[in-house]
Symmetry: D5
Subunit: 165 residues, 10 copies
């Protein structure tokens, strides 16, 4: 296997690399087996959002998780390990700023419109600090509703108080 150093190099100021072939392979295998992220996640004992993030090169799997992924997608574990194993680290953050796709823009709009309100309530509830996006778990749930089903998107992140020194 040819180790692809590009996989973790943003090669320019604004344009970043195309997803390396490994990710194309993941999407291809998912399509070939007709699997959803939910099904893959169940087989891996993970959440589907985390699994989707893995497919977009935005999360890093352990060797054990790669084996589970290889099992469900019928991909060779040594290939997965060579491509996405111990030597690869994600280069996170993809897509245009501001986002142009309406689904992703709506999340961004949430930051623009409700960001200061969320910040104020966090401060009142927790004090001076932040909600971690590193130690954070994200879920997308479907809540059925006769007036129109609802998407329930949850961020569950550790509160980190500011250090003083």
């Amino acid at each position: 296997m040819a180790y692809n150093p590009d996989a973790s190099i943003p090669c320019s100021n604004v344009t970043r690399r195309n997803p390396p072939d490994a990710f194309s392979e993941l999407f291809g295998a998912k399509a070939r087996h007709g699997l959803t992220f939910e099904q893959i996640a169940q087989a891996m004992n993970k959440d589907e959002v985390w699994v989707a993030a893995l497919f977009y090169g935005q999360a890093k799997a352990s060797e054990e998780e790669l084996r589970a992924l290889g099992a469900v997608l019928q991909l060779k574990p040594e290939w997965l390990s060579a491509e996405l194993g111990p030597r690869w680290y994600p280069n996170r953050g993809i897509g245009p700023i501001p986002p142009t796709d309406p689904v992703i823009y709506r999340l961004f709009e949430g930051v623009l419109v409700y960001g200061h309100a969320i910040k104020a309530v966090i401060h009142e509830k927790f004090g001076d600090g932040i909600m971690s996006m590193i130690d954070c778990k994200i879920h997308v749930d479907k809540k059925e509703d006769p007036r129109g089903d609802r998407v329930v998107l949850t961020f569950d992140g550790k509160f980190l108080p500011y250090a003083k020194w």
Copy 2:
């Protein structure tokens, strides 16, 4: 009362108006009475995130809600109605892009890192459409945890399928 048309005019390409005096008054009264958003929200039978959004000029209250707000903050209802009543509409979207404050940046980072994963899972669960940020309810909850308390931030938005025509 002098009706302030500036309150809904973004006066330039990138710089928008300071929050009108009415909002300063709201923050001042909140401080004077030593109230939290949670306490004001309980008195108004609303969620604290929505109430905080109202204070930042990012939500619009009905006449009845303004009366409830006036009652808890001891502000004259006619003044509130003149300032923030039927003739005023929010000009939404505040703060720098990308956000520089770490609390708000973390939400933005969530869009950059997990936006495509969330989009993919929404599509698999709901089909082609978006999670509305207009018909959306947002909550900030505190989950106690011995390893460090956690912020649970929930977006509960209606799924809107794309029209075809």
Copy 3:
């Protein structure tokens, strides 16, 4: 009256002047008399979108139109003429790019998502040219619908073919 030359000078690269006092007066008088744009428009025999554009400093009224505006708002015609009359020309184009307010962003999203489709259909129907935004009339109508009322926004603009020379 002090002629305000600032009214037509964008004074910087990105920050433009606040709306001059004349526009504050217009909004103030509208509020004082409890009038809607629709009512003012009917009294002036104009469309409400054009009248609203006039209040935001984005359209120019003739002397006769200023007289009609003065009559409905009970403002002195000579004052209106001095402020917004023959010597004043709009400096058009307001608000942040991209827009942050969700109402205005949705129009912008229409350009992002459907702009190329609209361009392609215009070319197939009319040939090489543009839809004028100068000789263009814009209407906002309400279409009642039991599943939720609809906004019908119409741009009626002259087709202009490209010159050749």
Copy 4:
């Protein structure tokens, strides 16, 4: 067929993928048969703007719509389904910001010049909320006029009131 995961991955901050080959095929078939969007739309019982949006990768067709499209363009339905079927979702929003092409810039100019007026009239007619660009139908019509034909561009979008909670 090789499932192309790139088709829904914006691979960088500002540069997005080229349209996948499937769209080139659509344009090629349209040219080969000498069809206009209007003719394809009639054959599919759809509007030409929606059909053009589909060609630009900005709309998603159902399996049935793909069959109709395949029929009029003489493309194999299984190929269309594999490329643009259940596993593909559009990544919406294309072209530079601000637009540089004069046709599309004029639409953008409409947002800059008339956006606040349109917002104000929507609020007066409907209250606090937005015109949906998701549940929105767009038409381009030709109105003949001896002084120069006119383009009539209509956005017919559902009004969505802001949630309160």
Copy 5:
């Protein structure tokens, strides 16, 4: 011939397609025959600026003009018609903003330094409206001068008054 749909698709937010091969062919043929834009323009009975715009993909020729172009460049008319004929429409607006090349930057500097003066004089001479860049003819002339020859660049554009409605 393979119809190239890319020719009218700006494929990203800021990066646009390379000029399609047809334009490379035009430049190649011009070089092969050692022709200037002036000579091609004379043979086509057109202005050299318009012809240069055509070579840069910024103007659209009629079938008749393509035949004249083919005659002077010795290119097959059916090839020209297939590439740049009835199915192709320019995607206008090329180069970085602000321009970096000194020749083009000087034009841009003219907008920055003299734009408001030109606007003011147009308003005084014509009223509220614009100089069309669509119905506009542009010429570059050489004026000999012993102190240094001068470039005389003329924009001759129709005045368009703003519609009222």
Copy 6:
């Protein structure tokens, strides 16, 4: 008189100073006497575009020109000399980039659409160099036309060949 050093200091990265009071005075006096730029220009034996540029702080008058300006506007020459005389130099370049006002945007669009064609023709006619925007004279003329009057905008700039060394 208080010498205003701000008049030549751009005080920030993107936001520049408001036009100093001297320019407000010029516009005020022009309005008070009901003069057009053309009339002022005739009295000063100058072109109206240059005079308008002077009013926008984009050109510099000599002492003699300030005296002529003072005579036509009935402003004291010593005041003009103190404000705009030997110690003041313009800080050129005003307005947003890209311009948002439709009149000025059209000039900018000319650069986007025709800039490369103009550059190519200048090179063919003059060789490697630029059209100076410093040694450049600009005129706006009205050409009457039954199909709609035309604006003839002329840039007459010295050609400057590139130095070699």
Copy 7:
């Protein structure tokens, strides 16, 4: 005391509020007493970088720290508490992006030039995660050197591994 809600509201997209008067008072008192950040920090038993961050509105002091600050600067504790006490939270992130001041730009250049190398070494030493800038202590030390003294700038931040879920 008038609670200043502006102190935590970034009032626009790019322009943020001036530092509130409280910070001017802090700088004024520091100057009045001729104190350095180092001296204030010693009196407060804190590091000078943290104290300087407090003066720039980028850190939050506890009530006890405000009392210590008041003691060294001879400012009334109740005033400090009212201005910067429990109801105030910093809006962090100041200055232009990219920084223009050479001192701050050099730090930014460190990110541009060495950011990927630092990231790679962190990953090799710690695995997939980040160095926290929230639980981070920063020191500036002077290292004397006959060839020129050296600045030793240390970031001591907690490593945070990415959550999986």
Copy 8:
């Protein structure tokens, strides 16, 4: 060997070249031998951050350092010398601005939040000048801590006082 001039040419305004093949080779050899930057650095008697910078094309090795690098990676010295030797100079500065990867963004956030405090302390300790990022040595150390290990990142840069003349 074909000298690759691209290696030092940023070929566009915002997009820069992919790392030349030489760097891919370095990463490939490092992977092939299963070496860490720390191991390579020890073999070269250098710091691991500097070595990582070399792999990302952000530092320049001497001929002797290239020989040491070739020895540890088992690459031919003449090839290394031809590619990265005396004729090659780094084009420094990679990745998007602001950075999107959370590891690198945190460093950037340090500039945003603590930049002015660091600048103020440097001035108090050293006077008017800067910390050089050219004569600067950077280290990443791991400090074990039962509450979570810590990253200690040190910049050791020469202080440069401003010249006066």
Copy 9:
């Protein structure tokens, strides 16, 4: 005297403070006495470019230099010391990016057009390193020439080789 902490705080992302009153005083005194930068520089035994930089808040004078400045401008030394003395440090970097004023833009154009050539020659003459802009002396000289006088602008900066570690 009220110490002005604003003088060294850039208060926002893109907009920086107006020059503090001290600088207005400097410009005012210079105008009052009819002095040029050259004359002030001679009296201070400094170069006129450095003196002009001081007036624009871009350089820092010692106490002795402030005394010399006060002597030539007839300003009280204690006032100068309080305003611009030991507690004040410049916040460097002013004006829009890219510059819009033609004089300053030409310098910027020099970077765009000749930057890579200058870099290449510096590397060939000196090796891997930079020309310091901190230990740099800048002169503007007038070279008379019958074909038009010439500006000779010289940057004399120390070469700094890159550290290795």
Copy 10:
């Protein structure tokens, strides 16, 4: 030879073409013969900065200069003439804005920090006008100094006074 029209077409808004093959050939030949820019310049009787600019596609050589270049690099003159001869004109302005490479950024920093001072001194010495970057000669000299060698960078540009008309 295939005339390469791309060589003078900036094909996008921000991304410009890679340097055409001709420039790669120049760099390759320079490397092959182990020549410095200084040596090539001496052989061509030109300055090394101008020659380097030529290699980066930022200057245009005459036929005679191409012959001299061909002689020193042992490249065929007809090939050089076909590639870079009468039909090719540079598209000037390369690299990111602001520059990220520290060498080039330092020049840019000179514009940010000293631009206004340089402008003020030019105005005092020459009046209202600019230093031409077109009729400008640039030199890089090495000044040996025991405390560290110095780079002396000189811009020798014609002063151009503003036209009046």
